[in-house]
Subunit: 219 residues, 2 copies
């Protein structure tokens, strides 16, 4: 069956090649941007946790932690799927804001509808990275469990995993901080940034502890 | 012209789709691992710096920084290409170690040749992430320049860029730390880890300063 060469631009971002994604990220086009990059980095963290589990499961001498590794793997794969899906959600939220700005503003009715559409888009562009930040905090918690019990030869991958999880979290946080100030629903905006502040503080300490744990186990 | 569906497994890693790369990373296969992930995260950081430059160049009100943005972009694109190429170098180094372990060890001559091949592979698997760490430190320096002078609406991307650069650096460092102890050339191993220690310390402070600068500019 004849098949046309794949046009990478018509593919969802996560189905494009890494090189194409990097080209798109580097370009002056508004999407994909830092929010998508944060979600992908978080997904890489989850994938590295899964790798530690997959290598440890069935390894001689690691029988005692096999149950724990299977439990971590179940969670890390769920988290990876969730973060991968967020790339598309982040882009959709951003595009809805840009579409809202293009709505007509001839009448007062137009203006009100346009302002409401902009606010709805901004809210979504705050909720998605907030959700991304929360899911990235799960990557950090899973990295700790994988780092504590995983097979020693792949333990550095749990260390890269926790760094990726925390970078996904902080990167997503910047996208909340850039969008929340423009939200008219101040109660939601303030609750979102306050929640995020606590999450950042807790996860900064937790990430450093996991990195130190991995470095210690490396000797 | 008929074209066969692309078999992703025969493609170089960076030409595979992001989803396929994440699947490969999560699998129990030894490559790609944390070293490749670190190089890709660093390349994402460089791409985000390029994005800030590309959006700022030609923007009304940003004429005064256009020369600086073009200079940063020239560097960030060089750094991105270098880090993208390192993914393949990291995998080749790892595979050369695995191949060396499979060499015959029947005679003393065999054993000496095998030990030398293992050492050569380990040295390469130390040099590549050390080089990756150094290039990631350039991503951090470029993020600062982009963060200071870039167009305000994309400044959060410089913030995600610096986080990605530092995570690439720390992730690469873990791969040096896991391989250097097994090197028989102790002078090289100690110089490598000492250099890296200084780089990590300097870049930790620099990264936090850039992140804070971006957060301040976000208001």
């Amino acid at each position: 069956m004849a098949q046309q060469p794949t046009n990478q631009n018509t593919l969802p971002v996560t189905q494009r090649s890494i090189e194409t994604f990097l080209d798109d990220l580097a370009s002056g086009n508004p999407t994909p941007g830092g929010g998508s990059a944060a979600a992908i980095v978080g997904a890489m963290g989850a994938a590295l946790v899964s790798m530690v589990c997959n290598v440890t499961i069935g390894k001689k001498g690691c029988e005692g932690v096999e149950g724990e590794m299977r439990a971590i793997l179940h969670e890390s794969e769920k988290v990876r799927r969730r973060l991968t899906a967020m790339v598309g959600e982040d882009i959709a939220a951003f595009e809805s804001i840009m579409a809202a700005y293009k709505l007509p503003k001839a009448t007062d009715e137009d203006k009100a509808a346009r302002a409401a559409a902009i606010q709805a888009g901004l809210r979504r562009a705050t909720e998605v990275p907030l959700d991304c930040a929360r899911v990235c905090s799960e990557v950090i918690a899973l990295s700790r469990r994988a780092g504590e019990h995983g097979y020693l030869n792949v333990i550095s991958d749990a260390g890269v995993g926790v760094l990726a999880g925390f970078t996904g979290l902080r990167g997503a946080a910047l996208n909340v901080f850039i969008n929340a100030p423009a939200l008219k629903d101040r109660a939601f905006a303030q609750a979102a940034t306050a929640d995020l502040g606590q999450l950042l503080e807790r996860c900064a300490a937790e990430s450093e502890a996991v990195y130190a744990l991995v470095r210690d186990r490396l000797g």
